[in-house]
Structures are given as C-alpha cells and as structure tokens.
Symmetry: C2
Subunit: 197 residues, 2 copies
C-alpha cells in the first residue's frame, strides 16, 4: 500500500479492501500548487474537495473594504473546499489559497456520489465528513461569540498544533477575529504566565 496521508485517512474512516482503496486513490487527481497560488477564486464554482497531502492552504474572504478574513486553515491531512458552492453549484464567495507549496488530492463531488450509490460505507463516510464540518463551524461560531482573545488563541493552538510557526501572525489574528496588536499582547501574557509557573 502507498503511504499517502489520504490513504491512511481513508483506511481509518471507510471500510474498504486494499484493492478498492488503491483503485480509489488512483482515480483521484493530484495537483501541485505553488505558495500563493489559488485552489479556488471567488466567483468560480468549486467542483472539488481538496485533501491536503503536503503543505498548507487557507479558506478566506475579502470584505467590502478589502480586508481578508480567514475562515479555515488546512494543513496536511485536512480537507478544504467551499461546500456551499460545490453542492448548490453556486459561484463561491471565498478564496482558497496555498500559503506554502502544496500537494493536494482533488476529490470530485460526482465521483463521491457515484461511490455512495454502490457502497453504503461511503454514504456513512460522507455523512461523517459533513457532520465534522458542522461541528467545527458551530464551535467556531460559538467561540467567536463567547471567547476572549486568549481563549481563542489557546483553542487555535489546539486545533492547529503544527502550524503555529508556519503562519504569519497577521493571518492568525485574521482567523481569530482580533487585531495583530491584541494577538501580540495575548502571546506576551501567556509567555509570562508560563514563565512564572
């Protein structure tokens, strides 16, 4: 068996034999994106789910006054897509961009649907992905409503333990919905607290 991250993701989430798994992986397109390149641009219809095999991407929007707001980071082993655009066949309101050189598997929605028809394990798999997405987004809404800057930062370090040193602080602040100055204060306070321990 190959040692793709996608392979281990699939084997741990869907009940498939090795032959089917390898056929499946062979059917997925693989694409390389250079740092800064777009996986999806606002206004395009998103036809794929992206599984990040190596690298790092972000899903973000740009508001009326040109400011960027990051909805999600996607490091290795994460999915990223605009499911609204994919499912409802609507132009996306968002961008997906590689913030490191990135290798991604492109999972075509139609292909997933076709698989679901012949294999009930795939219905369950897709359901799990969708519910996981809802769980993450609901948590994020609740956190943006209720948590302090420090709580948000700590949650970020739990969700994305491996990307802290790979993402510019301005992007972390954008994801947290706080100013870079607030973020800098939070980090100083936390360092001080930890030092005193």
């Amino acid at each position: 068996m190959n040692n793709f991250k996608l392979t281990s993701f699939l084997t741990s989430n869907v009940d498939l034999d090795e032959k089917m798994l390898n056929e499946l992986i062979a059917n997925f397109k693989i694409k390389h994106f250079r740092k800064g390149e777009y996986l999806l641009q606002q206004g395009e219809v998103c036809t794929n789910y992206f599984f990040i095999e190596t690298g790092l991407a972000r899903l973000f929007g740009i508001n009326r006054v040109g400011k960027e707001h990051i909805i999600q980071f996607a490091p290795e082993g994460w999915f990223v897509s605009d499911r609204e655009s994919t499912f409802f066949k609507q132009p996306s309101s968002y961008f997906i961009q590689a913030i490191e050189d990135t290798k991604a598997f492109l999972l075509d929605e139609q292909f997933i649907l076709k698989l679901s028809e012949s294999n009930p394990a795939f219905v369950e798999f897709n359901n799990k992905l969708l519910h996981n997405h809802i769980r993450n987004m609901t948590k994020r809404v609740y956190q943006l409503l209720s948590a302090t800057a420090e709580e948000r930062y700590l949650a970020f370090t739990k969700t994305y333990p491996d990307i802290l040193l790979r993402v510019p602080q301005i992007m972390v602040a954008s994801y947290l919905g706080i100013t870079p100055e607030s973020l800098s204060r939070v980090r100083k306070d936390l360092a001080l607290k930890n030092f005193k321990k």
Copy 2:
C-alpha cells in the same frame, strides 16, 4: 393532505407520493413546549432533529462566566438540533429552548437513516439539509469575522424577517455578538438614515 408546515417543507424538498408522505408525517412525534421550556439541555445527548411547526426556539451556549450566546434562532419552518451531539452520540455543549410556546416535530435520526436506505431521495434530502447547515454556519463565521454591527443587524433582519418583534433586544445582541448598547445605536442610526431618504 394535512396542512402542516412540515408537509409543505417535505413536498418541496423530497420526491415522495402522498401516501408515503402521510405515513411519514404520522411517524414523526409531535411535542409541545411551553415558553421557557428546554428541548435540549447541555450535557444531554441530542437524539432528535426538531422541526419547528409553530413558535420559536433558540440554540445557545453559556460561557464560563455565565453569559448566554445565541448560535441560532429557529422560527416556524426551521430545523434546530445539535447535529454534533446527535451524530457523534456525545453530550451536547449547548441548550435548545422555546422562547415562545412551541409545537415541534421530533425527527429521530435512526428513522431518517432507515428511510435513506430504502429511498435514495432521502439521501439527497439529508445531504441538502446538511449542506444548508454548513452554508449558514460558514456565512455566520465569516460575518462574525468581517461585518460591522450594522451589517450584522441588516443580515439578521434578512435571515429572520418575521421574528424582529418577537425576540427581546438582548437576545438579538447576543446573536449578533455585540452589546445591547451597540444594537440600540445601530437601530437609531438606521431609523435616521431611512427617515432622511
């Protein structure tokens, strides 16, 4: 055919004949909740999706310092649930409460899954509900990150045109993630702008 809101919701979203539809509706439990009563309490596992037939409910959490934060309102014709809890069989982090006397249909997840096995239209229906949920939550994340208090309020009036006069201002402010004072200022400014038109 009966004239439940749930009936028209189902007929416009799933391809079912009248017989099956009526059987279906007959299988759903209906329950009345008095104003203030809980459909779900934090710590319980949520086993149902609630379809609000009449009345109004809210999904909310209470943070560390006892403050309430509203994730979603559910007036007539809306679904409300904690899908994370239902799907992953985990104790809920949230509450669902009737804020008016409410009549709700209780849709059991196992029943929906059973239906999906015998009727592919139901897989599609469930997929649509899940994607709609993701769409709403993603929009809400993006809005909390990017929109001004006025923009949030205007979006609220579009999402929930019929509940403006049914919900106390403090709950609207809680949903918008702003202080009641900010909300009051936004409403005054908007009234002034509209008067000058």
